[in-house]
């Protein structure tokens, strides 16, 4: 499957907007919801799905972050700054979520046929299309100095505004992107820079944590010099999906998906307790 649009041209496509809903309550719930949906899509109980979600004042950590020599100091400091820390289940390192950051999850089946690289390309293709009226300069490559650096960092003129991770559950795939829409992305980067300084305190570690350079990151609104907001992008996603898909369903989780979400949430709680110990608060 080389053309990313193929995924959107199926007979049915599902859109779930969780940006304003009371549930999922925290980012921990959000990752459990994506697991439930990945399984639902994998079983054929749901068509290919896009879910959008936001969470305020949260730092999502990767498992390697939980092994920082001074993780307790780092997370306590984040808490003091008003940020909740959650260990995600989709790989990667620390990223910041707040009211100006939109998360998009693309969920599809056939993970046995669609490789990891292709999964990422689908999200990259969609995001480039989403903002094609404004720019053709969105590029995917690792931005050194950004937080959670990876091959699928999205940037304009070398300034990163988004990062992508991927989780595979059976043959279900969840490709998750955070889009830093509203400023201030350098402030977000400074937060993570300080977190790593406190978490490492100059000690050498086996794992290579990023040395964050805030000037490598910028919000999309700043990069495009447009007053972009989460609501604007949300509407644009809905319009774009309406254009791309044959039949767009808009609904929430089914009863079976809610049941699976509760099971997956328990797994997330266990993971977070293991990783963060006393620092984790349900």
């Amino acid at each position: 499957m080389s053309d990313w649009k193929t995924l959107f041209h199926k007979d049915q496509f599902r859109f779930i907007d969780h940006t304003n809903s009371i549930e999922p309550v925290t980012a921990l719930d959000a990752f459990a919801v994506d697991d439930a949906l990945a399984l639902s899509v994998e079983k054929g109980a749901s068509p290919t799905t896009m879910r959008i979600w936001t969470h305020d004042q949260t730092v999502v950590l990767g498992i390697p972050d939980a092994r920082l020599p001074f993780i307790k100091e780092g997370v306590s400091w984040l808490n003091q700054q008003g940020y909740q820390a959650v260990v995600r289940n989709s790989g990667g390192l620390a990223v910041v979520l707040d009211k100006g950051v939109m998360n998009i999850t693309l969920l599809f089946a056939d993970g046995n046929k669609i490789g990891i690289h292709e999964g990422y390309q689908m999200m990259v293709g969609f995001i480039q299309e989403l903002f094609a009226d404004y720019t053709d300069q969105i590029k995917a490559f690792e931005v050194k100095g950004s937080y959670c650096p990876g091959d699928y960092d999205l940037s304009i003129d070398g300034k990163k505004f988004a990062g992508i991770s991927q989780r595979r559950v059976k043959n279900g795939v969840a490709v998750q992107i955070y889009l830093s829409i509203e400023a201030d992305n350098q402030a977000r980067a400074k937060l993570i820079e300080s977190f790593y300084k406190l978490g490492l305190q100059g000690e050498k570690s086996k794992f290579a944590y990023p040395t964050v350079e805030p000037n490598t990151m910028e919000a999309l609104a700043t990069l495009l010099n447009k007053p972009l907001t989460i609501d604007f992008v949300k509407n644009r996603i809905r319009e774009k999906l309406t254009d791309l898909t044959k039949e767009l369903q808009q609904n929430d989780l089914t009863a079976i998906e809610k049941e699976m979400y509760q099971k997956r949430k328990q797994q997330m709680i266990v993971r977070n307790k293991k990783a963060l110990g006393d620092l984790f608060h349900e």
Partner: protein, 129 residues
């Protein structure tokens, strides 16, 4: 050529029966190549009862996090503790020192449903055509 007793799944796990009710499980070389540099294996717990195809853990790499499934029904009896500090063993030596865990299996007939090395290689080659 690997040990002839290895059996494989289409989800890219391998099984090596150690005796009549105990088997070692890992992921294949193909799987580790697809995942890239592995940074963590979150294993199931010793004593966990599993049905075939239940999750036995999650492998996180720099590219993605993927669940791993038990090819057999049984109980987890041992985990590879070396992976705690050296998850890269899964990349470097997936069929030997990079094994994931051992289970006591209760349905030996399930081994019959798994692929031989030759069949597994054919399955991979089909996917790459």
């Amino acid at each position: 050529m690997t040990n002839q007793n290895f059996r494989f799944t289409k989800k890219h796990e391998w099984v090596l029966p150690l005796n009549e009710n105990r088997a070692r499980i890992g992921i294949t070389d193909h799987a580790q190549q697809e995942l890239g540099d592995i940074v963590f294996f979150e294993n199931g717990e010793i004593g966990d009862q599993l049905a075939a195809e239940d999750s036995i853990g999650v492998i996180e790499s720099v590219k993605a996090a993927s669940e791993v499934y038990s090819p057999l029904t049984g109980k987890i009896v041992k985990v590879n503790e070396n992976l705690e500090d050296e998850p890269e063993l899964i990349n470097n030596d997936p069929l030997e020192s990079g094994w994931l865990l051992e289970i006591e299996y209760s349905h030996p007939e399930e081994l019959e449903n798994l692929l031989s090395e030759a069949d597994y290689q054919s399955f991979i080659n089909e996917g790459e055509e």
